[in-house]
Symmetry: D2
Subunit: 329 residues, 4 copies
């Protein structure tokens, strides 16, 4: 059992706290949020302590590891502080909105090989993971083309958009990581994007719909498409095409019920909506992997460098969007 604290008790922080509280290999010790009320509610719900400050967490010997789910601009300093305090870190994506800050943070730490893992949850989805394992085991030969579809059910608030760093750093970041997870290092990025869903998003200088093409060092070509709105739910799919076949991992529903009537046949449920439901198993597996890495049974993966690599792709995509040309990394 690994003693853990959660820093940040917003929507995703609270979800993580709940997962940790019922996880077989973790003992949730305390939670913290600068908004004290959020921390208190979470602590009461889960029967754990509220830390009065992050320093209290750093000095708590019962806390061996922290999960950082605070605002993005706090990730880099919190990771540094946690590592200094000897804690292992599982940090939410993105590592930072500013690539230079992210790189500087890692430059200061990387020599010590600190136990830091990035929470790219999709790598732990049983279907995406199985797809990758079968791909890497050679089932479909060499990877030639991948198609990644990622559509959110509904656009976030204007406030969220403003603080998000833009579509590529906030949402596509997952797909950049998925591209690397499947195809390895990426050499070149091209992006089309526009605001088709919500004119307000355009007014804020962001886009809500994009189509990207990536070229991997291996030669594989990866297509990504994103939308901030998807009427039928949270659309999350991966298709990999190789010299000997194809593997697809599709969407998931709450039941396997099909309905047949005079209008239509074999109709399925709406999709699991949203990430908390869709990636429930992935969040558990992510913690399993983190615990295994703390216990030395495997490496921290994805790590801080993977977080930087995804952010580099986001920045390259932004440059491509502005220049209407492919950008080399």
């Amino acid at each position: 059992m690994i003693g853990m604290a959660v820093i940040g008790c917003g929507r995703i922080g609270r979800m993580h706290a709940r997962n940790l509280a019922r996880h077989a290999r973790v003992r949730l010790v305390s939670v913290f949020d600068v908004a004290e009320q959020l921390a208190r509610e979470t602590a009461v719900e889960l029967g754990v302590k509220t830390a009065a400050s992050v320093d209290e967490i750093w000095s708590d010997v019962k806390v061996e590891a922290v999960l950082i789910a605070s605002p993005t601009d706090t990730h880099v300093p919190l990771i540094a502080a946690a590592v200094a305090a000897g804690k292992a870190v599982l940090c939410e994506k993105p590592i930072d909105l500013d690539l230079e800050r992210a790189r500087a943070g890692w430059a200061a730490l990387s020599k010590k090989k600190p136990p830091v893992m990035l929470a790219f949850n999709r790598r732990f989805d049983p279907s995406f993971r199985a797809l990758r394992e079968r791909l890497h085991a050679g089932e479909i030969g060499r990877l030639e083309v991948a198609v990644i579809t990622s559509r959110d059910p509904a656009p976030p608030s204007a406030a969220y958009i403003k603080a998000s760093g833009g579509l590529f750093r906030d949402m596509t970041i997952h797909d950049f990581d998925m591209a690397r997870y499947l195809a390895g290092d990426i050499e070149e990025v091209f992006a089309f994007g526009s605001s088709l869903v919500d004119p307000e998003i355009g007014r804020l200088g962001d886009i809500d719909t994009c189509t990207l093409t990536l070229k991997a060092r291996s030669g594989a070509q990866i297509q990504i498409n994103n939308s901030r709105r998807c009427s039928y739910g949270y659309d999350q799919r991966v298709e990999v095409f190789g010299s000997k076949g194809m593997l697809q991992a599709g969407n998931q529903r709450a039941t396997v019920v099909e309905s047949w009537n005079a209008e239509r046949t074999a109709a399925r449920d709406p999709l699991l909506n949203f990430f908390i439901e869709r990636y429930r198993e992935a969040y558990d597996a992510e913690v399993d992997a983190f615990v295994a890495a703390i216990e030395g049974r495997s490496a921290m993966s994805p790590d801080y460098a993977d977080g930087i690599a995804a952010l580099e792709l986001a920045d390259a995509a932004l440059r491509s969007l502005k220049s209407a040309a492919a950008v080399k990394l």
Copy 2:
């Protein structure tokens, strides 16, 4: 090219005439119906002759074979006359509503091994045929259980019901033949049935919904379910379960389009509706097989004896329905 005539120009007879008219290996010579007007319309549409009588057909040297789609009670005498005239016969199901008449008809003919084929169209459906070939090739080992689903889109008229010989002889007859096609000889039959769809059918002494179990000589158990009404179209499915696996052959639609929206995902088209659309390929393959048998390249199959065997099962099912006990054949 085989010269053919069609006897009976009702709904199914006209469908056959149209199929024959465009079939690559057949030349449709003439059509006949006691309702002259029906014959004339069909002949005009297809640019062929109207025969004034069946005798005109028997004596027409251009007619090598006939397709009999006249009322059921004319099948046995017409087969006899056609065989006497030296014509090959493709006869619609059922062979007769009266088992003794059917047997007597065959007793008078069978020694000559006349070229008579029964039009059990489902044997020629590419999917059911492929399923059976894979089953018989051993892909799933020994057949243990089969489930046959057969549901018509809507109940026929009261007039049709009255003349139909009842659900088992009119509709289930196809499933009895399918059971024999898949599992060979049947030894025992049990039937439940009732009128759930249309009380008028019950008043006419017939049933519109039934569930049957058959036991084959091989030991295989076959479940059949039928309904005279199916809101989502013409439901035609076969599932065979064996010691090493399962094969299923499901329904068919006009397109492969799927629709996804806020209410439901992956919804398919309604089913092809009704037998003319659903078994279009089967009707062509049936004529191919008939022509091949006429040309001596294969046996007539299914033959008159198969028609009798299916009728025996229908009669046994009727006895089972009345006695609430299994009936041995």
Copy 3:
């Protein structure tokens, strides 16, 4: 939080103990098995007490409810003792192999309306439950035909078969309960059955393959098919057909990955295998329902009477198998 003890630490008892140990609304207090070693292993694994006897459980005030997973012939007396001790009971199926014993047990208790629930796990499967709710909400009109497929991955040991009470009481019992869950009271049963899978099962006087038809008081007809062996995994399906449409609930897999290659397309994983994996969510929901009933928020359902009703159907099926005739209840 409900304090619970588990009686019986065999395969299924241990599964229940593990589920209860991690269930949010239950505190597992102790476990018991006449084979002390089994109890001790379970207790150590889960960090709970080993009860030295059932009496220790009856007198433990921290135990408000018990889960009975001991051999079938102990169910009736253990339920009586638990009720006498004021404990709520969640008892594994079947209630007993002897209908008279089961009825006598209930006769002695039923007036007190004791809090006894039967563990028919499939009623709590999210897909079967959703299918039933949609059926009962009228989505497909009146139920006319149901098809229940239930095939186990592999036959149990001869020792298990001998003690099982036979296929109908051991395995089909779930399908009898499912038939009642979907269609209400059953009036008539017909059964075919034989030993196609393993001759040894036949030598033991049991069958391993069966096809049944049930008629409900409502008029609905239900087909069940069972096999003790299914090469592709644990096949668990329900189809309900009504006047306005059809609902199906199919099988489940560990991932949503599809594979496409030169031999075949869109191939899915093997099925979840066996009940512990397939009904994982159902077992949790079953405990939820049990806790809700203890807390008075709902009735105990399914209850002891449902256990008797399923056993009555098993006995009727056995008489039908022997007589080759339908048996009325």
Copy 4:
């Protein structure tokens, strides 16, 4: 009945000749090929005349329309000659490999509004057509993103590659037309491409794998991916995503059989392979549309201008591939 001649009796010309010979609304009069032997074989097979020269066709009053399936560089002059002779024209894609020649050809003709239709067969596929009709009827709201997958079973010969005009003009041309069919005019194109399948194709200066993004004037973004090799058959899919939902049109197989065994479940047949099988219904519908346009019941569509537009996209894609930047049209 429209009297027609076929010019060009290679693989695709002979397929067209066969289709026309059995088409209900067409009378195939004659065929021509500069390789006399090919024309003669086709004529004998179909029982039609061999034209000694194209002039014989132009002067044959029984020929009202021609289908041009000769080598690409003959398309423009043959169209001109056919139009001069008063014949309607159905011409295979691409219109020419040289955009300027294609434009010049049309400039000389377009004022007369001659009856010329381009044979973009996929527009007539029942599923793609139904998808487009549902899209344009507003079923999924405004089109935002489309994904077009098009993979050939196996690369063509080096000789074919050399004469093909390259992947974009030979294969992607269909997808450019599909993009226009779904999304209307295209404003911008970006292309990645490389030789991953066959190094020989790279040595010939061509590519065999590509991923493209198109931006339509409407704002819709379209992703295309192509491969010259697809181990599981001829992969032809379209997905359209809109503000209110998604429509997909997927692949097709010879049967609906599914196979379940210890290794995998619900496995389907390989795909229909290649265009002659996959687009069989489309070819018939294409001729229907051509005949309807000749008879004045509809416009010729797609027309010569659509052929030029697709070629413009192919040329733009080639420039994009070389410049690694998006190309505006």
